[in-house]
Amino acid sequence: MNQSRSLNVILGIYVAMVFAFVFAPIIFSMIFSFNSQRFPTIPLGEFTTEWYAKILADPDVWEAALNSLIVSCSTAVIATFLGFCTAYSDFRYNFRFKGPYLALILLPPTIPLIIMALAMLAWFSKIGMSGQLYSIIIAHSVLTAPFAMAVIRLRLNQMDPDLESAGWNLGGSEWQTMRHVIIPFCKPAIFSALFLTAAVSFDEFAVSWFVSGLNKTLPVIILEIVQGNIDPQVNAIGTFVFLISMTLVVLAQVFFASRQMKSIKP
């Protein structure tokens, strides 16, 4: 018994260390963003908001922030729509070639981003769609639709299939049943999918960098600054990016978890 307790303590410390490793870069980046030193070290320098003042005065950063906002919002809507359609088709219908059909939406995240970036760049140049803001939106919706599909499909799993036929038996058409039964049932998952796909799009840099041309998003700006040298501005932009994407992921999870509470109710 005593042995088991000391093992628990050791394992507890170990888990804490793994979490410390995972969260250290996020926390340090936030600390460095308020630190006066150009090359941060221990002991820390003085508190400063210099780096924030710098990025706020930089029109390129503002433009990139606007681009990022447009891209992630548009991506979220398109990817969630595609994800919903596919999740519903998979839930409701059995058809030939369903395997390849599902592979079509689920494969992109298993291909390294650098390869997708090259393929998208070449293809968009070929069909005359490269270097635009919408190029990033299209590419991101391909990359993020599987996440939306997975979130919504898990929600549909919890739905009694008889609920839909009950809608029909009560005289509703398929479209009415969709509108009054299925969409309300999936609502939390739809919100969850919107936030999650927005977060992934907001953070994606490889594909954005390749296909964006002159329309840079925030991660692309970071990538370009980082290539130069150590510049604490990155920590300031990074902290801002962290806060937004962390908020989005937390919201996605809260909506995703809220469905579990509801499904407990009879």
Binding site: G12, V18, V22, Y93, Y101, I111, P112, L118, W123
Partner: protein, 287 residues
Amino acid sequence: MSSTPGRKLNLYALTWRLPIIFWQFIFFVGPVLFMVAMSFFLVKNYRMTEAFEFVNWSKMLSRGYFWDSYWYTVLIASISTICAMCIAFPAAFALAFRASETTRRWAIFLLIIPFFTSYLVRTFSWFVILSESGVINGMLGYIGLGPYTMLNTNFGTLVGYMTLTLPLVVILQTVTMANIDKNLIEAARNLGCSAFRTIWQVIIPLSKTGLIIAAIFCFILSFGDFVAPFYLGGSQEPTLPILILDTTKSGQQWPRAAVVAIMMMLTLFAIAFTGIALAYRKGKGAK
């Protein structure tokens, strides 16, 4: 039930089924197939012309630096996978068997956040932390150690890979092991199995599928990442993603970059298929 629409293929069914087919054929299958075609194109005077020549393939595959880069990438991604799986295992074990349901949920909730949160900024943060005059060397200095060179080494690259993969690997391992029937573990212990033997002969075989899938994802992520080897590893030995980056961005040699990309995809397919075959193979001992 005959009055219900059932599973007929009508306008309604097509409305939900077709969007993804159109979208992915134009913007996913199209790009990938075009990339394969592009690997046979020619580049003349910095302009790509459509052709069907094997010159890019023969040029790339006959170069020593390509194969150096190839085997280095396979090696370091394998090391990364082994490290991530080993580092994650005790943590996942603790979360799956020793923690309460609530703690486990919170842990997974917290780990999902960094997985989806700017990997680029996290890597840059490591760059600052690990540098010669950075936080870690600063702390080691107090106890009279160092400074150690951690940037521009394989160690730096691996720290980056762990930043990328560790949250996902811990999540997948935890979920897999938490789903094991606890009675089987009880039984093993009651029959006199040591803790170590229980892990080795009961827990690992029972969670084999999930563990292999975690390893495959870890390998794919490390194999395809250019940020860690570039910024933390100093790209002294360029990995394949860096090769793609250089060939595309500076050399205008898209077709040759496509050759590298296709070689990467073939390697990943081979590894994923082998892994999945292993994961779903019935154990020989099963009666």
